[in-house]
């Protein structure tokens, strides 16, 4: 074949592609998806552990009653329909018939009630918060579950995805020590994929659950999660096709750019809407000079967040304007804006009396570097240079994972960086950082900076039990204005984690939960 013929053949292939797509619309069965799990999770039971890798992998094994689309509207999960009473107190779910656990036993409403009201409230902090609002949960027939709330809680309908309320088998867990149950190793759920083998340090092999209740699903035969601890090796695995999907921080941000350009790969930042990871520079509000609002406002002016996004996250982040992510409902862009301005920062510092000393230094502040990944180290270095511009010495302090959690949880820090998920509703993922009832020593991801404002407390409390969306918007807009003025923490970026996958695979991202989703509808064309 000479070059011309070859070109012709290639063009013919190209012409064939559209037909390929129409055919693929009748989704095909079979195929293997190879992907990465990083770091290796301690256990696969999502009811017992909610770290990101556990949720990514366990999401294929354990399901929730609902799913949420990119706008975080509820979609059928194991519940085919649901009903909320007008007073917002009664939630009735109708399950799909014929759902079975991986051990062949049927899944009924009894399992749902047991999971939500007995197991999860003990093992899942987030679920404990949500289900503590339930007065009673009933299973009138095998396919019906009724939750009766103590008082209205608008975001309650957002608490049923596979990460917030995974359903586990009652016949295995009831009456046992949940965490020590030997069946945990088998990870028996209802999801489209079941555990075949887990070779520690190497891979987790999931295969099709043949008794899955949705017709034709799952399309894939198997999913293999490979454990690859080294970042460069993970990038290489995606580049040469050993794996066909990466999620969260599997590949470092500086590699993302390269993969955007790779022809056979699809790049998206969709599928994180439910989490909307929101990042900030945390300042201990109890300690001078951070106890002065003007200092915290100066910090907002000091950090060139556009440059921060560009240099540290290589543009895979959006500048945050306040406590609520632009991807979360009730976000209000009409708040005070802090543009990058060293002069304004200086003026604020001068105004509060924090003037440069004889050596030109205004203050020395210790900054604990979170030990999670390299980007956190780079971020600390970026902040240090930002503060140096006004004569504030940021002294970086290194620590390990346990040390960071211990210091921040016990308020034994001056500054650090933090990142929290928004969980689809300010009442679930935002309020916890700012309400004074959540100032709890020893608990991470609470109001660790110690911000306390009775008005903010009142607004958040009222918004949580209000059902009318317009009224809630009003309350949350107000709270955003107050918080942005007070700057309890200096919001930096909305991190946009990527999902990168081989174009041969379809339906990878179908909901706002993205890579944590069940993957029942994923198919290979």
């Amino acid at each position: 074949m000479n070059r011309r013929e070859f070109t012709k053949a290639m063009l013919a292939c190209g012409a064939a592609i559209p037909f390929g797509i129409t055919r693929a619309a009748g989704q095909t069965r079979g195929g293997t998806l190879n992907t990465i799990i990083q770091p290796e999770p301690p256990v696969l039971v999502t009811a017992l552990n909610q770290q990101q890798p556990t949720l990514t992998l366990g999401g294929k094994i354990y399901e929730g009653l609902l799913k949420y689309d990119a706008d975080l509207k509820p979609m059928p999960g194991m519940a085919q329909s649901w009903e909320v009473s007008p007073d917002g107190l009664t939630y009735t779910f109708k399950l799909f018939p014929g759902i079975t656990f991986h051990d062949g036993k049927p899944m009924t409403s009894e399992d749902v009630v047991f999971s939500c009201m007995k197991l999860l409230v003990e093992t899942h902090p987030r679920a404990r918060q949500n289900f503590s609002r339930v007065a009673s949960a009933e299973a009138p027939d095998p396919l019906t579950v009724v939750f009766e709330l103590k008082q209205p809680f608008a975001p309650f309908i957002g608490c049923f995805d596979c990460t917030s309320a995974p359903i586990v088998p009652k016949h295995i867990y009831d009456g046992t020590d949940y965490r020590k149950n030997p069946e945990n190793d088998k990870a028996i759920g209802t999801g489209p994929f079941k555990l075949k083998e887990w070779v520690r340090g190497s891979h987790v092999h999931l295969v099709r659950h043949d008794g899955y209740y949705l017709k034709d699903e799952p399309y894939l035969d198997e999913i293999v999660y490979r454990v690859i601890p080294d970042a460069a090796s993970r990038a290489l695995a995606l580049e040469n096709g050993t794996v066909q999907l990466v999620q969260w921080s599997d590949v470092e941000f500086y590699d993302v750019q390269r993969f955007k350009a790779q022809k056979n790969l699809e790049f998206t930042t969709k599928g994180y809407e439910y989490f909307a990871p929101h990042q900030w520079l945390e300042m201990n509000n109890r300690i001078a000079p951070m106890n002065d609002k003007r200092f915290r406002q100066a910090v907002m002016h000091l950090i060139d967040r556009e440059a921060f996004s560009k240099r540290v996250y290589f543009g895979n982040a959006k500048v945050a304007t306040g406590p609520i992510s632009s991807k979360t409902r009730f976000y209000d862009p009409n708040v005070k804006r802090y543009e990058f301005s060293v002069d304004k920062a200086k003026a604020l510092l001068d105004d509060m009396g924090l003037k440069p000393g004889a050596n030109g230094k205004r203050a020395e502040i210790k900054y604990i570097v979170p030990p999670y990944s390299e980007s956190y180290q780079r971020a600390g270095e970026f902040f240090r240079q930002s503060f140096a511009r006004v004569g504030i010495d940021l002294v970086l302090v290194g620590t390990d994972m346990a040390g960071w959690a211990e210091k921040v949880g016990n308020w034994d820090y001056e500054m650090t960086q933090n990142l929290l998920y928004q969980l689809g509703d300010p009442a679930l993922g935002v309020a916890r950082t700012y309400i004074s009832s959540n100032i709890k020593k020893g608990i991470l991801f609470s109001n660790t900076q110690g911000y306390s404002n009775p008005e903010v407390d009142k607004l958040f409390d009222e918004a949580a039990i209000t059902l009318d969306a317009a009224k809630r918007q009003e309350l949350y807009s107000k709270v955003q204005q107050i918080l942005v003025e007070d700057v309890p923490v200096a919001w930096t970026l909305e991190i946009e984690y990527p999902i990168i996958y081989d174009k041969a695979f379809r339906n990878i991202v179908t909901t706002g939960i993205g890579s944590h989703e069940t993957f029942g509808s994923v198919y290979k064309s």
Binding site: A231, A232, E252, Y254, K310, E374, R378, R384, L396
Partner: protein, 277 residues
Amino acid sequence: METVRAFLRHPSGMIGLVLLLIVVVVAIIAPIMFPVSPWEMVGAPFTPPGEDGLWLGGDTLGRDVAAGVAYGARVSLLIGIASALAAMAIGVVVGAISGYFGGKVDLVLMRMTELFQTIPAFVLAILLVATFNPSLLTIILTIGAVSWPPLARLTRAEFLRLRHREFVEAAQCQGERTWRIVLGHILPNAISPILVVTSLTVATAILLESALSFMGLGDPNLMSWGFMIGAGRTVIRNAWWMSVFPGLAILVTVLAINLFGEGLSDVLNPRVSRRRS
């Protein structure tokens, strides 16, 4: 003077000295060569060498690699010398007491030294730094604490050799105080091999510090070569210059110190120098 002249005639020793002087000069004039802090993001991230006025390129944040290498020389030399001196201080004191007094004191001190020698130095260093939080001082003390045993053994051997010499016994007969005998008579005669080993300890100390920084256990406020390699390691496939240049800097410095130390050893070792003359 004779020693200096002998050293000047020592070829590899001189190469070491010249290289070392270059490193020292770079360390001294780093703030003149690069007036902005090596942490300042002066260019675009991933700038290749030679572009944008960054002749050794920019790192992942756009910081000047050349400035980092120059300022890193200060950190490496400071930590290398300070921790070698710390090791020498511990080693000489332990070795001198052990060698001079002998008996049970010697037994106890030498068992302790052996204990330290059986634990791999790097593992112990990681443990110590991780426990005491990495900072300039803890790193110096840690490297000192894991590097003293060879110096203690050497000092002890020298003291054992010298303590029954006539001039020492004469001093003892004259009723001189013990500390005067040790410091005034024995130590000056034992100092040359100790200096040689100390100079070589500087090299291992620099390597240890680089390894600690590479592991992320360095002082995060110091731009050191190990830190630069550690930070550049993950991107080595896209940007070799971030780790290669600081790596070369370590290579050159450690090589220079070793050559210098060996030259010093040849010159100071009486047996060898006698053979020469």
